[in-house]
């Protein structure tokens, strides 16, 4: 297990944070954005029996949440390996 220099530790945290910010932006858009703020607009689109805004509010956002977490798991595992900080 190697020790990170201060600069490396900073870089690791910066990359983690920018990944988080991007994923949390999607998190915000699918729930608050599609499900609440823009729901009327999206409801003009019909997918099967669902109004799209209603679908995001009651189903879609939840599926996206799952995808976001697992994307984060994979991306962070890659980042951990790159900086040599993964656990054995």
């Amino acid at each position: 297990m190697q020790k990170l220099s201060e600069a490396q530790a900073k870089e690791y945290w910066k990359r983690n944070r920018s990944l988080m910010i991007r994923l949390m932006a999607i998190w915000f858009i699918v729930s608050f954005g599609f499900g609440i703020i823009g729901v009327d607009l999206l409801n003009t689109v019909q997918v099967g029996g669902y109004k799209l805004g209603f679908w995001f509010a009651q189903q879609g956002s939840i599926f996206v949440f799952i995808g976001l977490i697992f994307y984060y798991v994979v991306a962070m595992a890659r980042l951990d390996r790159e900086f040599g900080v993964e656990e054995d």
Binding site: K3, S5, E6, W13, Q58, F65, M76, E87
Partner: protein
């Protein structure tokens, strides 16, 4: 075999499983007692977290809240709010708290904010939100027993107390983890099987998530369109678009539930049980998958059961149900008081309309949707029995997790870390068991003598967790500058403001006579209802903490090192050399 016997057999069988697991997995040492030895597989922990998290409210009440009280779209606040919090947990809290690697949430707050005061304040916040939450579970247990097993409410509650006491006290976190896994299996089967049947009956599609977007059997009309139309004819708002109070309120409500979810200690401590930081991330994802199975089914149950009820009462416009010919399940549930009818216009038929003057379905409890669903869909007795077992599993699993969070805060944070540091490990565990016993009886007492506030309690727990614990944890990880004075002031003010807003409205401790400042209009703060106020409390917490931090001396170097250390999964950053 009659329903009561079947129910006794099914519920009794599940209880035997829980007790068997508790005996097999009892905790041997302190690490097993608090964090199940730290060796729980991330998928297993995901499942346990799902059961820990999904309470009697999720299982019994949520579909009805969506389908009846919040009239469809408005109920989305629960669906998004109670799942979106896991994204916050997975990215912003769980991995770092796991890296920190100790036993409790107040322990982290005490260490990070280098202060016994901060730790004790965190313990108080934890106990406030966990106790309010556990009362709801105890009530759920009593209600499930009395409705399905035809015992009285008290007997049901006592039985529930004994079962929880037995496996939580004996098994600690280790016993709780493995019983929660079994309880997840029971509750998810109990929820999805009736949903599959009702979806098949209405839409021909066995997957409720797809059935909700399908056409009705034997017609070209989509289920949701039909529901919108039926509700419009009876004067209700449209199901797919009716907002809860206002968009601002829905935004705040969803945000509060998300932040509150991420700040609930009994959920957070589940992530201390996995071996590694990356397991904590993974585990949050698995937890959300297991939760989503129920949470994406719930809106289908809500819409389908609502449509079923509307159409039972008025199969075609004007052809209302003759009251004397009402189905058996009506009569069954009238006896429990969850359903009541009153033939106001004396025509011998039942009218269910939005206008309260003319509405003859004078009582339709939210819990009916899930509890009576199998009977409405004419499913066999064993499925009804399974629903009873599922409701109990949901309440028991959450109650156990909460009791552990409460007792470990008392034995570990108050005794071991603050007031009695020389306590031995054995004594600490016994103290924890004692605290748990007290908590069980305290919660049981409040479940038996609900001081008028039982109905509002679970929602309050989210507000409190959002306004007090979540900001302290997040700032503790994402800033190495926030000081103990800042954190303590933030928690106290966040908690205080939230309690003020809720109690001003609903009365102190929800006693209606104890409302204060009656001159203020309901929901006076931007139209936000009290249950949705947690995110405002959280924002105030952040602001106060930042403000006070800028006026106080910066944290010692060891604290800054701790913050650097928890951000990296393995190893430590080398100590900064430039000062």
């Amino acid at each position: 075999m009659d329903l009561a016997t079947t129910t006794y057999i099914v519920v009794g069988f599940t209880f035997l499983i829980y007790i068997g697991i508790a005996i097999a997995a009892r905790a041997g040492d302190t690490r097993e007692f608090y964090v199940a030895g730290g060796g729980v597989h991330p998928i297993a922990n995901g499942m346990a977290t799902a059961a820990d998290w999904m309470s009697a409210a999720s299982f019994i009440s949520m579909a009805g809240l969506i389908g009846i009280s919040y009239n469809g779209y408005g109920g989305s606040v629960f669906l998004m709010g109670w799942t979106g919090g896991y994204v916050i947990l997975a990215m912003l809290l769980a991995p770092y708290l796991r890296k920190y690697g100790k036993f409790t949430v107040p322990e982290f707050i005490g260490d990070r904010y280098y202060s016994d005061t901060a730790r004790v304040v965190a313990v108080i916040c934890l106990i406030l939100c966990s106790v309010t939450y556990v009362i709801g579970q105890m009530k759920g247990i009593g209600v499930a027993f009395s409705r399905f097993l035809e015992t009285d409410y008290e007997t049901g509650l006592y039985t529930g107390m004994v079962i929880v006491f037995f496996y939580a006290v004996l098994g600690g976190m280790k016993g709780i983890t493995y019983t929660q896994i079994a309880q997840y299996v029971v509750l998810i089967l109990a929820y999805t099987i009736p949903a599959i049947f009702i979806s098949l009956q209405l839409t021909g599609n066995p997957i409720p998530q797809l059935g909700l977007g399908s056409t009705l059997v034997g017609s070209d009309t989509f289920l949701l369109d039909k529901l919108d139309q039926v509700l419009a004819e009876t004067g209700f708002k449209e199901y797919t678009t009716s907002v809860r109070l206002s968009q601002v309120n829905m935004f705040a409500y969803t945000a509060s539930l998300m932040i509150g979810t991420a700040g609930l200690p009994h959920v957070i401590i589940r992530f201390f049980t996995v071996p590694k930081v990356r397991d904590a991330r993974k585990s949050a994802g698995w937890a959300l998958i297991f939760i989503a199975i129920l949470y994406t089914t719930a809106p289908a149950v809500a819409a389908m059961a609502r449509l079923n009820i509307m159409q039972t009462i008025e199969p075609a416009p004007g052809q209302n149900l003759v009251i004397d010919q009402r189905p058996q399940w009506f009569k069954t549930w009238e006896q429990t008081g969850l359903l009541a009818i009153e033939d106001k216009n004396g025509d011998g038929r039942l009218q269910y309309v939005a206008d309260p003057q003319r509405n003859e379905l004078v009582k339709l409890d939210n819990d009916i949707l899930v509890l009576a669903n199998p009977e409405i869909a004419r499913l066999p007795n064993w499925i009804i029995a399974l629903v009873a077992a599922g409701g109990l599993a949901a309440a028991l699993s959450t109650a156990a997790g909460l009791l552990l969070a409460i007792s470990s805060a008392i034995s570990h944070d108050l005794l071991k870390s603050t007031f009695y540091p020389t306590i031995s490990e054995q004594m600490e565990r016994n103290a924890s068991r004692g605290a748990m016993a007290l908590a069980v009886f305290g919660a049981g007492y409040l479940g038996l003598n609900p001081p008028g506030f039982a109905a509002g309690t679970v929602a309050l727990a989210f507000g409190l967790a959002a306004a007090s614990i979540f900001p302290a944890l997040m700032m503790g990880i994402f800033s190495s500058r926030v000081t103990r004075e800042g954190a303590v002031a933030g928690m106290v003010v966040g908690l205080g403001v939230t309690l003020f807003y809720v109690f001003q409205h609903k009365g102190i401790m929800f006693v209606a006579d104890w409302r204060f400042l009656p001159g203020l209009a309901p929901n006076w703060f931007f139209g936000i209802e009290p249950n949705a106020f947690g995110c405002i409390g959280a924002a105030i917490n952040f602001a106060v903490a930042m403000g006070v931090t800028s006026l106080t001396r910066e944290p010692p170097e060891r604290v800054r090192n701790l913050v650097q250390e928890i951000r990296i999964p393995a190893g430590m950053p080398s100590a900064p050399s430039d000062h």
